[in-house]
Structure formats: structure tokens, C-alpha cells
């Protein structure tokens, strides 16, 4: 196969031919090509359709600023939309498809939009599709979304892995053109730890694209030599294919390394990309500059590109944008472009220099450039036949990272461009073209100088760096932003924003930069205004009669270029999205066929289905009944456990709990209620006193971490001199609840000590041993209302303990029960849990008002007594049962008085927790009811407007089961 527009030279390996397809058609390129350079070499200029008008488009750039040549890469699950053909490294077998066209790129039915453009002017969706209102969501928006667009997703899970990594360095150099290489060489030779990162796969920046010499050799050769030297320095890390995407606080930079995007499939064990977090003491921004377009009528045809891109394709890739080329410029780049292309044997049709009063006024060619119209200084027009036009409107320094901390760029008249201003990230030094130094000499010099300054700052002695000889012709840009005319002249090609759109925005009063952006969508696309923003600003400045810096500046936010969501997620996806915590009995529970539920990060057994049980209620009812009839065992390891020690531990507990603890005798447990300082209940649990100055607190599963944090706050910030030490022991102990009338008889088989009621009464606790010597903790506490114990053993014995308990319980028909049965039994007993501890409720709401001691200063005590919180008639915890026992209750239902409409004005409270009580044979619930304590026996409606249920209920005591508590004291 021939590559008709392949010319001599370049940094490609002609010995290695690579096959690829674009829209199914096979082509060939060479190693070192990008997709865009290979397509151009094959004579393909048309690579995409524009966002709104579906105009035919080709690449205008040769880098990451590309707005037009967006393609879908690969197929199947690895299909990736909106990749810029100009930075896609060619590999053998690559398959690319054009996007946003139907049925084909050359014939796109929606190109009709281009004819309808008067209807699609700036802000059209704010005006055109307004009526009727309901049509927006159902008709207009879906229609616009289908018509306007970018590429499509595969809708399959991403098969690749992404990693995250951390790097530290003295000096981070961003960009490896002449300024970056000079900086890296200076810093590297001095021994500092240096990272040199460049988004390109070949280091060298513009040195690879221009014919300028450096130090008496070709620029590309000098760059290669520099890379070789840097590779030999152990203190330097050169990272190609790595885009630094943002400057964050305190010298932290984010970067994406494309490890495997240049191969068909990542190598075994390799990630596709790595998101690096780089900690740099100093940073040198050597990101170069982006050339800009001059707007003229139909300046968007395939074949019209930036002059620098044209030189890059010819010099670096041996690819010609066309055979007969014209150049339109407002600076000295024009003649250089003509000379470079002529040296490649291409025909130069014309060089149109706006400084001589000449300008391009239009173009022709449906799917690619055929000719341009040129008006000379005397006003005469002529047609110039050409298949490519290189345009240079000057250069915009790539100062993006300097504005990531809201540093405002400043206008530099000499080069008619914004350059980095003050207020950039601390420790970041812009150099070279990124700082407005547009010559090779200027780049090398400022790069070396910045390195020397950074090194001195860090206490390193700068090594010698002799500046190599390089061109230093003065650069002046005579502004030429757009050629006035009747037709549409593109400012932001990706979002189809034209000079007319900017004028319309001005006419309708959207004149500030921020309004201009939002009204016209200027700079909103994947290139984030790299190609169009300054041009748009210049046109607006012309309208308002103000200077460009007076009109506004454009500042940038991270990321510098688009980042794959996968890279941001890293390994945190699917099952690895967050850590999963397993209790010590997990393996055993899984063997029993347990159904697990996520509780925070924990997996807990929800119930244990037996053969023949087809509905979860059958399992849960059985577990509850068997526990109350004999004995049941439940893993309660997930409850937070905090060991509290020290002479002042009791005094400390008095201050963090609403009730008193210092009076608790050794060997006893007490229920505690913890308030927030605003008087709302924060958490509850039991705290045991195992010795004079040794306590163990339990918290709810959900609040284990926040409570521990809160206690540390109290200990360090409020009472720094109390003798009290804390340590979280949640992971250190496996803990099981053993509940039911046979709980003691079961435990007596494993516990080494006497645990008769006399020796170990209700609310006792002790350090004990089990199974002939294993240390354990035993607490006689009950959440179920049964005679119950919680037994804790070191975590590594957790699996053995559950098996020993179940074996010991066999003769009693012991069951394992899960969180559902646990919930049923606690509701039957009227104990509060997460649904009642909802961050809005007070002790009084929960019926626990008497626990708040007013005799001592404890957290939350003062504000819990506020008038509004202790007022009569507030919400109180009640029990609820259906008047007709066959009717199920629905959690979240609201209490409404009979005969009153179900509106907020008649809302009397709500049902917090609903379960089916197998003992009572019907639904029961806990709820918060206004003035509830005084309303026992009252009948109300429980209305749930979401579930569309309504049940007549009776208000009862929340203690449905064994209200006197005789069973737990048995």
C-alpha cells in the first residue's frame, strides 16, 4: 500500500510498517506515527464531524490541544470515545472509528444542521425550545443530545486495571522541550532528585518538530542526547507519556502515565494507566505554547491547520498535510513554514501575511480544502488553489497550571498573548514558551536559570551547564484575530462557536468572560478552550472597544487534558470499591449458608436459612422462637470496643456519658447514653468496669470510629491532664451473644469459672478463662430481653469459639441467629437502635430523659435542657400495633389522627422500626409520636404515601415482651 502524502525524513521507523484501520478501511503507517500523522500520510484529511453543525473536520493541531480529530479507539469493551487522533500513538492492528456522524463520515445526514444554523446560534437552547415546557425533558433535550455529540461508550465493564502511585522529588520538570530538558540537565547533574514528565511518547517537544539546530546539531538529536544523559543519572526519572494534569496544594501534582495505551492490550500484570501523586519541593513548568488560529469565513475545512502543526507533521513524521500548500500568518512563522515544506518537496501556493495587508477571506471544498480566497492590500481578491493551508495567529503560552490556584495571567503586548502572572502555586517556576520566551535560546536559558534558582533554594550547588548555541530571533506578533466577513468564521471549532456567536452574545448583553463562556459554550469542550478562548476574548474586546486584558482573562482548572474515569478510580472499583471487613465467625457462618448484609464496611450474617425455608421470614421467625425457647448465638464482634484505662477513667466517663459511671462497682456493667454537645443523642452502649482503673466501652457498629474520635477529642482538647488512656480494641476481640433460657447452661460447659446467678448476676462482668485456660471476657448483658451473656475471646480464637459454642449448644437445640432476629427481639423489648438514634433525637424523645444527670457537667447536658427540647408534648417513643392483627405495618408511615387529611399539618410523628413478632403473631413497631407517653391506647392511622399503605394502629407501651424484665434476671 502506498502512503501518497509521505515525504522524506522524520523521526519514524520506516523499517517497521504498522497496519491499522479507520472506519473499517485498512491503512499503513510506521512506528513513531500518531494516528493523525499516519492518516495524513495516507491522504486522509477528513477525520471527524463537528459537535453541533456536523461540519466535516480534520486535525488543526499535532498535539493534545486538538479540538477536531476526535475518534473512537478500539472496539468491544476497550472502545474509548473522544480520543485525539493527534496524540494516539500508532500500533499494529489499531482500529479507529469516526464519531458523531450517520451513516458515514463522508455523508452525514445530520449535516442538515449546518443549513439550519440560523436556528442553532449561541444560546439557542435557551430560546428555541422553550414551549411547551413539558416538551423539554421528553422531546427537545433527548433530540438535541442525539444530534449533538461526541463519541459513544461501549457500555461494557472496563477490562483494564488502573493503578495509583506516589512519587517524591526535589524538582519536578513539567514538559521536556528545550526549556524542560535544560532544566532537567542542570538539576540532574547537580544531584537533586528530578522527575521530568512529558505527555508525548517522544521526549523533545518542539525540538522534534522544527529544523532549528541546537549546539551545532539537529534539535531532535540534541534532545535524544539529553535523554540518554538523563537516563544514566540515578537521581533522575524521565516519564514519557505522562501528563501532569493539575497543581494542588503544597507542591502536590497529579499526573497520568499512559502505560499501555500504545499497545493493543496491556501486558500481563501491567495497568493501562497510573495516576501519580507527585510531591515536589520545587516545580519547573516547561509546558510550551499552543499556536492559535486566525478566524476567517469557513476556516474549519479539513486541510486548514496551524502552521506549526504542519511543520511538525512534515519534519517529525514525514507527513504532508497537502501537496500544494498556502500559509496565512501574522508573524515570522509563515516564511519558515514555507521554507520547511519546500525542503520536503511540496509546492508553496502562496504566503499570505496579514502584516502586508493581505488576508484570507474564505475557503472552498466540501469535504476538504480545494482553494482559498485571498484579498490583497489594495482590496483585490484572487483564488488560490491549494489542498492545505497553514495558519499562524501567534502562540498562547501553556500557563494552565499557573492558574490552578487562581493566579491570573497577564497580557504581554510583544507577543500578543497572556503569560503567567503572580499568584501561581508556590514553588512553581514557569520557563520557556510557557512563560512567553518563544525562542529556542530563550527556552534553554530560562530553563537552566530556573533550575539554578530552585537548586540554590533547596541548598544544592548547581552543576555547570553551558548553554548550547540556539536560534534567538526576536519574536513579535502583530495581532490579527479575525477577518471581517459575512460568513461564519470559527473561533472554537470543537463547540462550533463562531465570530457571529460572540457578537450575538455581546449584543444580548453577555459580555463578561464568564457569561460569554456559558452563553456560547466557548471553551467548554474536551480541549477546554486551548484553541479558542483567547481568540473569543479578542473578538469580544473588539466589540466592547476595550483592550483584551480589560475584557477579561481566562483561567484554567484541572485537569489539563481529559482523564479517564478509570484512572481516577484506580483499584477502588466493584468489590474493591471499599474495604470489606469480615467477622471472625465469617467462614463458619458461610459454611452454614448464612445470608450476609453490609453494615458499614462489615459483612454480617443476616439470617441462616435451613433446608426447606423459602422465605426469609421463616428463617427469622424460627431463629427468634428458638432463642426465646432455648438458646441462640449471634456474632456481635462488629460493635465498637474501646479500652479505657487510667486513674481518672471514671471521671472521664462521667463527662462523656449523660449518666454517671464513676459510682459503678468493679465487676459491673452499665448502659450509657452519649450526647453531642448540642444535646442530641450521639450513641449508646454498655461500659463495663473490669478493674479499678480498667474499663471497656462498647459503641454501636456504625459509630465505632466517630465515638473513638470524639473521646480522643475530649481527652486531648478538653481535659488534657486527666489520667486516661484509650485504645480501640474492636478488631482485637471476637464477641458473641449467647441468649435464651438455656444460655447459662450452655456457657457453663465452656467457661472455667462459676457463673451461677449468685456468682455472676445480671449486669456482671469479669475477666475469665474458657475451654481450660483461654483468656476471655464475659458480660451478663442482654439486648434480646433473655437471660443473656456476651463472651469475648481474642480474635484469632473467634472461629474456634463459635464452633465450641455451637457444639456445646447442640443438646439444647441452640440456633445461630442473624441481625434480623436480633432486630426483632430488640423491637419486642423496646430497645432503641440506629433507626431511633437518627441524629435528631434527644434522650427525652427516646424515653430515656431520666438518664441525663444534671448534677454533673457532661457533654450535651446544658443544651439538652433547652426549652424547645424539654417542652411537654414533644415526640416520645411508643409501641405500635395494628388494630387488625392481619395487617402488616410499614416503616416510615406517619401518624395521622382519624378523619384528618394526610398532610404535614396533621403529622403526629412516624414509625421508626417495624418487625413481625412471631410471639404476638403480628406486626409491631416503634415510633416517635407527639406527646406519645400520654396517648397509650389511642387509635391513629399509620399512613405511608410512598408505599400507598394505611393501617389503623393502636398506641401501646414500647415494651411488647416481658415488660418486667424477669427473663433477663433469671
Amino acid at each position: 500500500m502506498t502512503q501518497p502524502n509521505r515525504v522524506s525524513g522524520g523521526l519514524i521507523d520506516r523499517a517497521r510498517t504498522l497496519s491499522f484501520t479507520f472506519d473499517g478501511k485498512p491503512y499503513q503507517g510506521h512506528a513513531g506515527d500518531t494516528l493523525a500523522s499516519a492518516l495524513l500520510a495516507n491522504g486522509v484529511r477528513l477525520m471527524g464531524r463537528s459537535f453541533k453543525y456536523h461540519r466535516p473536520r480534520g486535525p488543526i493541531s499535532a498535539g493534545s490541544d486538538e479540538p477536531n480529530a476526535l475518534v473512537e479507539l478500539r472496539t468491544g469493551a476497550r472502545q474509548e470515545p473522544n480520543t485525539r487522533a493527534t496524540v494516539v500513538e500508532l500500533f499494529d492492528g489499531l482500529s479507529a472509528q469516526s464519531q458523531n456522524r450517520w451513516p458515514s463520515l463522508a455523508f452525514d445526514a445530520l449535516a442538515i444542521n449546518d443549513r439550519l444554523s440560523p436556528f442553532f446560534a449561541a444560546g439557542f437552547y435557551y430560546k428555541t425550545f422553550m414551549w411547551p415546557a413539558a416538551f423539554w425533558e421528553k422531546l427537545y433535550e433527548p433530540m438535541i443530545r442525539r444530534a449533538a455529540g461526541l463519541g459513544s461508550l461501549s457500555r461494557l465493564p472496563d477490562p483494564d486495571v488502573y493503578d495509583k502511585g506516589f512519587l517524591h522529588c526535589d524538582i519536578l520538570v513539567i514538559g521536556a522541550g528545550p526549556s524542560g530538558l535544560a532544566a532537567a540537565l542542570s538539576a540532574g547533574r547537580s544531584g537533586a532528585r528530578v522527575i521530568l514528565a512529558d505527555e508525548d511518547f517522544r521526549i523533545g517537544g518542539r525540538l522534534n518538530a522544527e529544523t532549528h539546530g541546537v549546539g551545532g546539531m539537529a534539535g531532535a538529536d540534541w534532545a535524544a542526547q539529553a535523554v540518554a544523559e538523563l537516563a544514566g543519572l540515578a537521581n533522575v526519572r524521565v516519564m514519557a507519556r505522562t501528563t501532569v494534569l493539575g497543581a494542588f496544594d503544597h507542591g502536590i501534582y497529579g499526573a497520568v502515565e499512559r502505560v499501555s495505551d500504545h499497545v493493543p492490550v496491556p501486558a500481563e500484570g501491567k495497568p493501562r494507566q497510573i495516576l501519580w501523586r507527585i510531591y515536589a519541593r520545587r516545580t519547573i513548568l516547561a509546558a510550551g505554547a499552543t499556536e492559535r488560529m486566525i478566524a476567517f469565513e469557513n476556516n474549519d475545512r479539513p486541510g486548514i491547520m496551524l502552521a506549526g502543526a504542519m511543520r511538525a507533521y512534515a519534519n517529525r513524521w514525514g507527513a504532508a498535510a497537502g501537496r500544494r500548500v498556502a500559509v496565512f500568518t501574522n508573524n515570522d512563522e509563515g516564511l519558515r513554514t514555507a521554507a520547511d515544506l519546500r525542503a520536503k518537496g511540496l509546492e508553496i501556493a502562496a504566503v499570505i501575511d496579514s502584516r502586508k495587508g493581505e488576508e484570507v477571506t474564505g475557503s472552498a471544498g466540501r469535504l476538504g480544502l480545494r482553494a482559498v480566497t485571498v484579498r490583497d492590500g489594495s482590496g483585490r481578491t484572487r483564488t488560490v488553489e491549494c489542498d492545505a493551508l497553514g495558519v499562524s495567529g501567534g502562540w498562547n503560552p501553556n500557563l494552565h497550571l499557573t492558574s490552578h490556584h487562581r493566579g491570573k495571567p497577564v497580557w504581554d503586548e510583544a507577543i500578543a498573548a497572556f503569560v503567567p502572572g503572580p499568584g501561581g502555586p508556590a514553588g512553581l517556576l514557569p520557563v520557556g514558551a510557557a512563560a512567553g520566551h518563544l525562542t529556542t535560546h530563550g527556552a534553554l536559558r530560562t530553563g537552566a536559570e530556573a533550575a539554578a534558582a530552585a537548586l540554590a533554594d533547596l541548598g544544592h550547588r548547581p552543576a555547570a551547564f553551558d548553554l548550547p548555541e540556539a536560534e534567538d530571533a526576536p519574536v513579535r506578533v502583530t495581532p490579527k484575530w479575525h477577518v471581517p466577513g459575512k460568513g461564519r468564521a470559527w473561533v472554537d471549532p470543537q463547540n462550533d462557536v463562531t465570530v457571529k456567536d460572540v457578537k450575538l452574545a455581546h449584543q444580548e448583553g453577555f459580555r463578561s468572560v464568564e457569561h460569554l463562556k456559558r452563553y456560547t459554550t466557548l471553551g467548554m469542550a474536551t480541549d477546554q478552550g486551548k484553541s479558542g478562548n483567547v481568540l473569543g476574548l479578542a473578538v469580544m474586546a473588539e466589540m466592547t472597544g476595550r483592550s483584551i486584558p480589560e475584557t477579561g482573562t481566562t483561567i484554567y482548572r484541572p485537569p489539563y487534558t481529559p482523564v479517564a474515569m478509570g484512572a481516577l478510580a484506580g483499584r477502588s472499583r466493584e468489590k474493591e470499591f471499599k474495604p470489606t471487613r469480615l467477622t471472625p465467625s465469617h467462614k463458619w457462618a458461610a459454611e452454614q449458608g448464612a445470608v450476609f448484609v453490609e453494615v458499614g464496611m462489615w459483612l454480617r450474617a443476616q439470617w441462616f436459612p435451613k433446608p426447606g425455608e423459602t422465605h426469609w421470614r421463616q428463617s427469622v421467625d424460627r431463629e427468634v422462637l428458638a432463642t426465646r425457647a432455648s438458646v441462640g448465638i449471634c456474632d456481635v464482634t462488629t460493635l465498637g470496643k474501646i479500652d479505657i484505662q487510667g486513674r481518672d477513667a471514671g471521671a472521664f466517663l462521667d463527662r462523656v456519658y449523660a449518666n454517671t459511671f464513676s459510682s459503678l462497682p468493679v465487676g459491673k456493667v452499665r448502659y450509657g447514653l452519649m450526647l453531642r454537645e448540642d444535646g442530641i443523642v450521639m450513641d449508646d452502649g454498655t461500659t463495663a468496669r473490669l478493674a479499678e482503673d480498667e474499663w471497656v466501652m462498647t459503641t454501636t457498629t456504625a459509630n465505632a470510629v466517630p465515638v473513638f474520635r470524639h473521646l480522643e477529642f475530649c481527652r486531648q482538647c478538653l481535659w488534657p491532664d486527666l489520667d486516661v488512656q484509650l485504645i480501640s480494641t474492636t478488631e482485637a476481640w471476637a464477641q458473641y451473644s449467647v441468649a435464651g433460657p438455656n444460655a447459662r447452661r450452655l456457657l457453663e460447659k465452656v467457661v472455667d469459672q462459676d457463673i451461677s446467678d449468685a456468682a455472676f448476676p445480671y449486669m456482671a462482668c469479669a475477666n475469665i478463662t474458657v475451654c481450660g485456660g483461654l483468656r476471655a471476657r464475659l458480660f451478663r448483658i442482654s439486648f434480646s430481653g433473655e437471660l443473656a451473656y456476651e463472651i469475648a475471646v481474642p480474635t484469632r480464637y473467634g472461629d474456634a469459639m463459635i464452633r465450641a459454642l455451637m457444639a456445646a449448644g447442640e443438646e439444647f437445640g441452640a440456633v445461630a441467629y442473624g441481625t434480623e432476629a436480633l432486630g426483632v427481639m430488640r423491637v419486642e423489648k423496646g430497645h432503641v437502635a440506629g433507626n431511633e438514634l437518627n441524629g435528631q433525637s434527644t434522650a427525652l424523645n427516646m424515653g430515656l430523659g431520666k438518664m441525663v444527670s444534671r448534677k454533673k457537667d457532661a457533654i450535651g447536658m446544658v443544651l439538652a435542657q433547652r426549652e424547645g427540647m424539654v417542652a411537654e408534648g414533644g415526640l416520645r417513643l411508643v409501641g405500635v400495633k395494628p388494630v387488625d392483627p392481619s395487617q402488616p405495618l410499614t416503616a416510615g408511615s406517619h401518624f395521622i389522627a382519624a378523619g384528618k387529611p394526610a398532610t404535614a399539618a396533621h403529622d403526629d410523628g412516624w414509625l421508626t422500626s417495624v418487625v413481625h413478632s412471631p410471639h404476638l403473631g403480628h406486626s409491631i413497631a416503634l415510633g416517635y409520636l407527639r406527646n406519645g407517653t400520654a396517648r397509650l391506647g389511642e387509635r391513629l392511622r399509620a399512613v405511608n404515601l410512598l408505599k400507598k399503605t394505611e393501617v389503623e394502629v393502636e398506641i401501646v407501651s414500647p415494651h411488647f415482651f416481658d415488660p418486667e424484665g424477669e427473663r433477663l434476671r433469671a
Binding site: C717, L718, V862
Partner: protein, 95 residues
């Protein structure tokens, strides 16, 4: 951000949990006259400065120290890091 922990040196802010204004250290006496008003002010009234702010950070993924960090809320520049315990003692808090 990087917080220069007084005991452990520079640590990434990701290791910390943020609480808020360091005035939370100055908890009023609940048994004193006028406690309700004092607690109202303590719990609900905060300055929200655009500039220097003394604030509490907790080294949860570290040594569990509570720190008082002096940070400029506009630039994020950190000009001081102290152990909250020392700050509390300097304010006369003890037992």
C-alpha cells in the same frame, strides 16, 4: 495539602480528619452561671474568615493526635501546627 505534624513531620492531609474552628477547645463550664448562653455561643457561633484560621485536625490514619493547624483559607498556606493538647493547656485547660 501537607500538614507538618509536630511529632511525625510532614504528612499528607488525606491521613487526617477535619473538625473545624479551634475555638471548640474552649468549652464553657456547664455548671457555671449563664451556661446555656455560653454553650449556645460555643456550639453555634463561628467566624468564617477568608484568611488565617486556627482549626482542628485529627490524625486518624496516624497517631491519633488532635492538632491545631493555622491555615489561610484563601491560599491554603499553613503557617503553624501545634498539638491541640498543648494549645488546651496554654488556654488553662487541665482536668
Amino acid at each position: 495539602m501537607i500538614i507538618n505534624h509536630p511529632l511525625l513531620g510532614p504528612r499528607d492531609a488525606q491521613e487526617f480528619v477535619y473538625l473545624g474552628d479551634a475555638r471548640l477547645i474552649e468549652r464553657p463550664d456547664g455548671m457555671a452561671e449563664g451556661a446555656p448562653q455560653a454553650f449556645h455561643d460555643h456550639v453555634y457561633l463561628r467566624d468564617n474568615p477568608a484568611g488565617e484560621h486556627r482549626e482542628l485536625w485529627y490524625h486518624e490514619q496516624g497517631d491519633r493526635s488532635w492538632l491545631v493547624v493555622t491555615r489561610n483559607t484563601v491560599t491554603h498556606e499553613i503557617t503553624g501546627v501545634e498539638l491541640a493538647r498543648d494549645v488546651a493547656r496554654a488556654k488553662g485547660r487541665s482536668r
